[in-house]
């Protein structure tokens, strides 16, 4: 399934300045992020932990649905799906 991953501006420098990356084939969100990571490891390491989990204060949406409620990284993708990686509002204030 051809999908498009939208990258937050904070990470676009790790994707050659691009705000979105088209992938020829990804059946799940996990596959999409793995494929993205193969192309742009800098994005991968900032979106996923070294154990392959989405970072706690990062949200991933397929369309306007958060993957937290649609199966997490195993959320299936349809042809033409748009995946959004967005900094969560919960991460806006560091521990002091």
């Amino acid at each position: 399934m051809a999908v498009t991953v939208h990258i937050p501006s904070a990470l676009s420098s790790f994707a050659g300045g691009r705000g979105r990356v088209g992938l020829d084939r990804a059946a799940t969100v996990r596959e999409a992020l793995e494929a993205l990571g193969a192309l742009h490891p800098g994005v991968r390491d900032r979106v996923l932990t070294e154990q392959g989990d989405v970072r706690r204060h990062v949200n991933v949406f397929v369309g306007d649905e958060s993957i937290r409620y649609t199966g997490g990284l195993e959320t299936p993708l349809q042809d033409g799906a748009e995946v959004f990686v967005i900094a969560a509002v919960s991460g806006g204030s560091s521990r002091e």
Binding site: A10, G42, D45, T49, E50, Q51, A87, E96
Partner: protein, 414 residues
């Protein structure tokens, strides 16, 4: 996005590296330390818990451990006085796949011994130690500590489960000591393969057994390079000294308003002098009596004296965190500290008087001081080995070769 102000840092400058909750700052002054320039913010929005200066082998390298709540933690370096920093694509410090751990924060970056110029150490959260043997290009988890049987019982303190203090032994390449909150002090005598808890005599008031083998919330441990067997420790309640490289600890809370605190630093030239910043209590983490005071001992903890000239002595509720107290190597030594209220203080006369170097910064969590490009400070002075029980009088290795680079007479303090 905030645009950093860059400094023109020159050899011989006193350079302060200031890590805050919202970025890093640099301050520079000529050796007189009579006026300061402030640069930054670098990595705006990132918490910078760790900074370091590596002047070995002709380097002038700054290190920073920056962490984003969103995008994770990385270590970065600068070789041009902070103008540009690395921002590695792949995170250089990672826990192994399958370890179920992920890097949360870099708490300490520590260049190794002068005679091992390519070794650096990094203490992180969750409490672990990483080592680099190639000047910081790559990092490896110190597996021996990671696999310690005590690990499952280490509990996070208020700031997280962190390995925040790394103290190499300048006279023994096999020996390294670390401090974990809350785990306590651990020491290796075999280059990191095995580690033992070294907390005898250090209390843990929050545990039923007041002096457990491990689990203490040690806040800081310091060692003067000229006295490698002697260590000082600031605990979550308790001030201690060890004269046997950490095997045993004795109470030295003599005449301080509180033995609770975070920060501790040695005088650069006098091994009997140590600085602390007492805090009233674990429940009220503010200066005792509302008076911000640094305390110094000149007799290895037998007595402590307040140093407060120039510091607020009424209504001060600011606090100095564990890595936010530093000293430069000039004579007289400069002492510096930063507060959670964003104030950076400095003393050009070893604490006799204090002035505000900068104000209005984000909460300060780290302060380090260095003489930029200083050849003299790169040469390790020969440590004095004091005989200690249990050691077999092993001959200390001779300090290593002189660092290459320009040979230039160190400038006297202005």
């Amino acid at each position: 996005m905030a645009t950093p102000r860059h400094l023109d840092v020159r050899d011989g400058d006193v350079l302060l590296m200031v890590g805050t909750m919202k970025g890093a700052f640099l301050a520079r002054s000529r050796p007189s330390r009579s006026s300061w320039e402030l640069g930054g913010p670098y990595f705006p929005g990132y918490a910078v818990y760790a900074m370091a200066y590596d002047g070995r082998e002709g380097r002038r390298r700054l290190w920073a451990g920056s962490s984003s709540m969103h995008w994770g933690a990385v270590v970065r370096s600068s070789d041009d006085g902070g103008r540009t920093w690395t921002n590695p694509e792949e995170a250089p410090i990672k826990f192994p796949e399958g370890s179920e751990l992920s890097l949360k924060q870099v708490w300490q970056i520590r260049p190794g011994r002068a005679e091992e110029p390519d070794i650096l150490y990094c203490g992180v959260e969750p409490a672990s130690l990483f080592e680099s043997r190639d000047g910081g290009e790559s990092w490896q988890l110190v597996q021996g500590l990671h696999d310690h049987p005590h690990r499952p019982k280490w509990e996070p303190g208020g700031g997280g489960l962190c390995l925040h203090t790394i103290v190499p032994d300048p006279a023994d390449r096999q020996r390294l000591l670390v401090a974990i909150s809350t785990g306590g002090v651990y020491r290796t005598d075999d280059g990191g393969r095995t580690w033992r808890a070294r907390n005898q005599g250090v209390r843990a008031q929050f545990l039923p057994g007041r002096h457990p083998e491990f689990g203490q919330c040690v806040h800081k441990v310091v060692r003067h390079p000229l006295r490698p067997d002697r260590l000082f420790l600031q605990n979550h309640w308790g001030l201690y000294r060890s004269d046997d490289a950490g095997d045993t600890w004795g109470d030295i809370a003599n005449g301080v308003p509180s033995d609770f605190g975070f920060a501790m630093e040695t005088h650069p030239h006098d091994p009997d002098s140590v600085y602390i910043v007492p805090i009233e209590s674990d429940e009220f983490r503010c200066p005792p009596e509302g008076r911000l005071r640094v305390f110094r001992t000149r007799d290895a903890g037998r007595s402590w004296q307040p140093l407060s000239r120039g510091l607020p002595q009424r209504g001060s509720y600011d606090v100095v965190l564990r890595d936010a107290l530093a000293a430069d190597t000039l004579e007289p030594a400069g002492i510096y500290f930063g507060t959670r209220g964003g104030k950076l203080f400095g003393s050009p006369d070893e604490g006799g008087s204090w002035e505000l170097v900068a104000d209005g910064l984000p909460p300060i969590v780290c302060v380090k001081a260095a003489i930029f490009g200083d050849l003299k400070s790169r040469r390790a002075r020969k440590p004095v080995h004091m005989a200690s029980p249990g050691r077999r009088g092993k001959k200390r290795p001779t300090p290593g070769k002189r660092a290459p680079g320009r040979r230039r007479r160190a400038r006297p303090a202005a």
